[in-house]
């Protein structure tokens, strides 16, 4: 009957959704927690000051360097967990979003590309280059 099919779809979607939510939170929550504490220690300001001159070109503040690297080398969700407690502006989050979605989880994805024999290293550098280029461009284009 139509009602059964409807509830079946609903239930499937809901349970898949619950699984996805769990997978997201299991990464985001711990990283958020760690970042939320670290930001009150001298470690984050030290990294921020060191990276600030370079980050300026991308329209980002120094602290954003850490989540950026986390996004490049660890995972998107960990990066989001690290960005969220920092209180960045909309423009900054957008730039970071673009950069990280373009070049993330580089290690695993490059390994997969290597398996396909399509010039994995070149693609990896392409992504980093595009990510940094987009950060630079977007810094100009977004108010």
């Amino acid at each position: 009957m139509i009602e059964n099919k409807f509830t079946g779809i609903f239930r499937r979607g809901f349970s898949k959704g619950a699984l996805v939510v769990w997978e997201l939170l299991i990464i985001i929550v711990p990283v958020y927690f760690v970042m939320a504490f670290l930001k009150h220690t001298p470690l984050i300001p030290a990294i921020a000051n060191a990276c600030a001159p370079y980050m300026k070109f991308l329209g980002l503040r120094g602290e954003a360097a850490l989540p950026l690297f986390i996004g490049f080398f660890v995972s998107i969700y960990a990066a989001v967990g690290a960005i969220a407690p920092l209180g960045l502006t909309g423009k900054e989050v957008t730039i970071m979003g673009m950069m990280i979605t373009t070049a993330h989880v580089l290690i695993i994805e490059t390994a997969i590309l290597k398996k396909m024999g399509v010039g994995a290293w070149r693609i990896m550098f392409l992504r980093l280059f595009v990510a940094i280029g987009m950060g630079f461009i977007m810094n100009f284009l977004i108010r």
């Binding site: 939510v21 997201l24 957008t94 970071m96 989880v105 994805e109």
Partner: protein, 145 residues
């Protein structure tokens, strides 16, 4: 460093983020399930063929492109590996699709999480997709074999 207020601040932040993730992801997954039932993705695949020709890609690339675009890099790559082993796509096409997917994959799933923390959706969706297309076009000219 006062631990207690920091803890409270962290917990509040986590709670806000969790709430918004649940409120967005659950309905979205239900929607996707409905789309699956209605064979929505197959129908878009038909429309995509004409566009693919412009980038000198064959019909065989439609499915991995869609899978990579909506489900994620790993799944798209998995399909590509299978297709290249079958001989359904040649080395050149494999490279082109890889370039596109590397720049632009999981366009819904990955971007949503950034939008939830305040990024601008237009830049992320359209910008990334445009990047993918530009990369695809440039490499379709550069790679001849």
């Amino acid at each position: 460093m006062e631990l207690y207020p920091i803890l409270i601040e962290a917990l509040q932040g986590i709670w806000q983020l969790t709430k918004i993730i649940i409120l967005v992801v659950l309905p979205l997954m239900v929607l996707i399930e409905f789309a699956n039932e209605a064979n929505f993705f197959q129908k878009i695949a038909g429309a995509g063929e004409g566009v693919l020709k412009k980038f000198s890609l064959s019909k065989a690339s439609t499915f991995p492109l869609l899978v990579g675009l909506f489900l994620g890099f790993n799944f798209g790559a998995g399909i590509l590996i299978q297709l290249s082993r079958d001989g359904s796509i040649d080395k050149r096409e494999l490279k082109l699709v890889c370039v596109f997917l590397s720049l632009c994959h999981a366009i819904v799933e990955d971007n949503i999480i950034f939008i939830l923390i305040g990024a601008n959706w237009a830049w992320l969706f359209l910008g990334r997709f445009a990047l993918g297309l530009i990369g695809l076009y440039i490499f379709s000219r550069l790679i001849k074999v």
